[in-house]
Amino acid sequence: MSRDYFEFFELPRNLTVDFADLERRFHALSRKWHPDLFARKSQPEREESLEASAILNDAYRTLRDPVKRALYLLKLEGFEIGEQGSKDVPPELLEEVFELNMALEELRRGDDSALPQLEDARHRFEGMREELDAELSQKFTAWDAAHTQPTLNEIRALLNRRKYVTNLIAQTNVPNRV
């Protein structure tokens, strides 16, 4: 049994995944490996089933989510994906981030007048994330067509920005019980 999630599902290393097909494979593999079906088998067989179904479930969780799937593929292709990049403010967002921090600061001091501003910021950031997702989806198709490294570089950059924007969205969701 392979520990490579794509191989486990007998899928090519593609970034576009047909969800219905993935789910069908998941159910079929569950029927093959789930520990419930090995209760009467020998100890080594039971251990193998536990190991295989853990990999299966981990793989399904990873592959059905586009971002997790892409991060996983980057790792398989030898990219180091740590925290770097996500902490540095992308230059085009400097002004936005500055204003967001001001608004959050006002809220912390008990000034609720910044709330609408926060709401606006959230909508903007969510819009940005949608754009990033659209761009990512294009790059996924590009990777699937040719499997070239430069595409992965671009995907990595987009994922870093997406992560940054997602963090910003989380900040705008700060409950007002500060």
Partner: protein, 613 residues
Amino acid sequence: MFQIEFDSSDDKVVGIDLGTTNSLIAYMDLSRPAIIPGEDGDKLVPSIVSLSESGEIIVGNPARQELIDHPDRTIYSVKRLMGRGVADVQDELKLFPFRIADDSDSVIRVRLGERTFTPPEISAFVLRQLKKNAEAALGQPVSKAVITVPAYFSDAQRQATRDAGRIAGLDVLRLVNEPTAAALAYGLDKRKEGVIAVYDLGGGTFDISILRLNDGIFEVLATNGDTHLGGDDIDNLLLRIALEDLQSEWGEDLSTSGEAVQTLRKGVIAAKEALSFSQTATIAFEWKGKSYAREITRELFEGLIRNIVDRTLGPCRNCMQDAAVTPEQIDEVVMVGGSTRIPLVRSAVEVLFRARPHTELNPDEVVALGAAVQAGILAGTVENQLLLDVTPLSLGIEIYGGIASKIIHRNSTIPASASEIFTTGIDGQTNVLIHVVQGEREMVKDCRSLARFDLKNIAPMPAGFARIEVRFLIDANGILNVTARDGRTGKEQSMDVKPTYGLTDEQLEAAIQESIDHAEDDLKNVQVAQARVDADAILHATEKAKRSEAYTDLDPQEKVALEDAIRQLQTAYQIDDHHLIREKLDLLNEATHHLAENMMNSAVSSALKGTKV
């Protein structure tokens, strides 16, 4: 010829609902799950354990009376203490008459008279009683079981439940979440596809699970709950009112008298149950010649419990959010647990999910029936159905600054795993300590400590050079298994495991050892039960044979001998001695020998007569 075939290799797997208030045991009878009642015919075995003054353990209905007569030697609702530490249960202690022994540490010890027991040991007494009931009814030993747990139970609570099973001499093949078991019991697989919500409000715990059904696969999408919310809390509200009444009417504070509180609790529960069917009910209480009666209207009752019912709705909404479903997408709602008989609970659920909930199956029995179905799946007798459950709580490890870094998120399908690489922080360091927690909060202090793993005997080397791969695996029972490997040598890394709550391996071994002393009695009971099953068969067959033509051909002496053998077996039947029953069984076998021959001959001759040559 009357000997019946008995196949003891056919080891039945039973399903057990180890409940806060009541426990049940069930098995697959051909293709249908069935509950096995106790000796008194009651399907529900109250989860009450009492230690008699002569040192005997009393379980179930007989222990109920002990709760009133000897409250200091009797315990109920021990499930609330499973897998928890003394500090966790301070709130419970205000409401429940648990007597915690002073030597409790990471494992609570409860006092019953002059002895102390851990919660798994007390639960094991209940399990042993259920096992005995099943063995008597099935006439064969029972050693393998599926036991249900609240879906929202933590790792420590699950381990404690499994420990209880092992102490009771059961091989616990699987722990199954109660709501998922209920979904299996409802046989909703007849519906090919759909989304099911299971709302389970029991005596002490609340669970909500949302499942997707697809061609026999029950995939849990999300689960949520509160392990300290249930019918007990409703009882306590009514109890408080009654105690306040008594304080003002009689000028007596009865809350410190265990006997009075237990008697009153009985009256409170009766009133609560009556309110599910009528608009008013009376809490009646007799105490030392005085009597108290308080009428409770359903309106007042609903006002009282509104808050408790509302507390179940938050987890339901969170669960829908985690499962990414809206109320409109939920096709079926299943109700589980005695508290779902309360009309207010039903209407609140109906409003929230916009669907009329299923209540066809007895909410007290549905979990045990589902456990039996799961037992059938494990035994291979139930085919095509498969349960894919999730872990209810995120698993995290402590990192710098006391932060809990999540490595397996809640609602991940189990088995699930995560691998992390650990290294040393200073030159020559030979130990690395990993602290594992469960919970959703950011900080370790707000999560629940699960265990500390001490990776030891690491070869001394410069800081950051060691490379220890630790694999965290949550198995299909929802229990964490940890293994570690030296990434440089590939060899297994040695480590010590210190569970934060729960029995250490040594404590568990000691408890199992103690229980083996009881095992001899248990074995004897099984042998007696087996002998009785065989005796039933031959007595029945003999009665039938006596009505046949062949019987009339016996000479009078033979008939007398036969009657005598029947009487002897019937007498032996009443005695708990399988040797004696077997002996009389052989005697009857002997006495029926000629009768059997006659029957065979007449069968042959009548067959010949019917044949046209």
